[in-house]
Amino acid sequence: MSRLIRLDQTGHTELAQWSSSDPAAFERARAAMDAELARGYFAVAGDGTRSAEQVRELPADAELVILRRPIAGG
């Protein structure tokens, strides 16, 4: 089961789950991600402990997609 997570003030919030066999769940996850991107979040897809890739569209095969806020030099 793939997960869409947003990093926020609560620690994190799971916004959606989907699997390749459930297109409706994937559509819901995609809509949730689009809404967060519109709010200024950025999406990073990865396999957890090693790699991460900046994405604009929800990859159906990603294990984990995390929505993060922008970073800036302090």
């Binding site: 003030q9 620690g11 994190h12 990073v44 402990t49 900046q54 995390i66 970073i71 800036a72 030099g73």
Partner: protein
């Protein structure tokens, strides 16, 4: 134009690069140039003080105290820069609004993003050590330190997630994800606050951060040996 405007493709490169279009991408040659510039800048600051320290006693032995003061300044100037760099590994002041339960949840997720060894180090030091292509990174809530040159050289970068309401572990997770997604972009977006010897930075750190930096230096030494021995 800002990152949120979508000036850059959001796949691959960090979108935040759109906020700093004037900066060259921080690759290996750029980092070496930055190191050289910092060293030259420091030498330029030190030379007049050392010249004063040497020259005054030659003019009159009565000026020896002034010479000692000049030497003290020569010692403290690089130390002040290192103190500025050390700030990135100190915990940020968080607003009282962050609930302990939020911090616990954030630590749980951050723990899922790193391997067992990094998790053990996180528990001990509050820092995440991550191997990259440019070197080994030590990531904290207010920025990250890049350890290079077999663990002898460090670059301290001030960078943080926007918004004051995030738990500390979430701040580290933000930086870790951005670093993994685009390491040169991450170094480019960040503000360099110190480049110099690791020992000088280490002197200014609290004990847990010292441990984290030492672990990164060891990993950097191993990494550089692997790189130099690979065909």
């Amino acid at each position: 134009m800002t990152a949120a405007d979508g000036g850059l493709p959001l796949t691959g490169a960090l979108p935040e690069l759109a906020d700093v279009p004037w900066r060259p991408l921080a690759d290996e040659p750029a980092l070496r140039r930055t190191d050289r510039r910092w060293t030259l800048w420091l030498v330029a600051q030190e030379l007049p003080l050392v010249a004063i320290a040497v020259g005054l006693p030659l003019l009159s032995p009565l000026l020896v105290p002034m010479s000692l003061i000049a030497l003290a300044f020569a010692w403290f100037i690089p130390d002040l820069w290192a103190a500025k760099g050390a700030e990135v590994l100190r915990p940020p002041r968080l607003p009282g609004g962050v609930a302990p339960s939020a911090e616990t949840r954030a630590i749980g997720l951050l723990g899922d993003l790193i391997d067992h060894r990094a998790r053990e180090l996180l528990t001990r030091t509050g820092l995440v050590v991550e191997r990259g292509r440019l070197g080994v990174w030590v990531i904290a809530g207010k920025g990250a330190v890049l350890v290079r040159g077999r663990g002898r050289r460090v670059e301290c970068y001030c960078v943080r997630a926007t918004g004051d309401d995030l738990p500390l572990a979430d701040r580290i997770a933000h930086l870790l994800l951005a670093l993994r997604a685009d390491e040169p972009g991450f170094a480019t977006v960040s503000n360099l606050s110190f480049s110099g010897a690791r020992w000088r930075l280490s002197r200014r750190l609290p004990a847990p951060a010292k441990d984290g930096l030492a672990a990164a230096a060891m990993a950097s030494g191993n990494r550089d040996r692997e790189v130099s021995s690979s065909p």
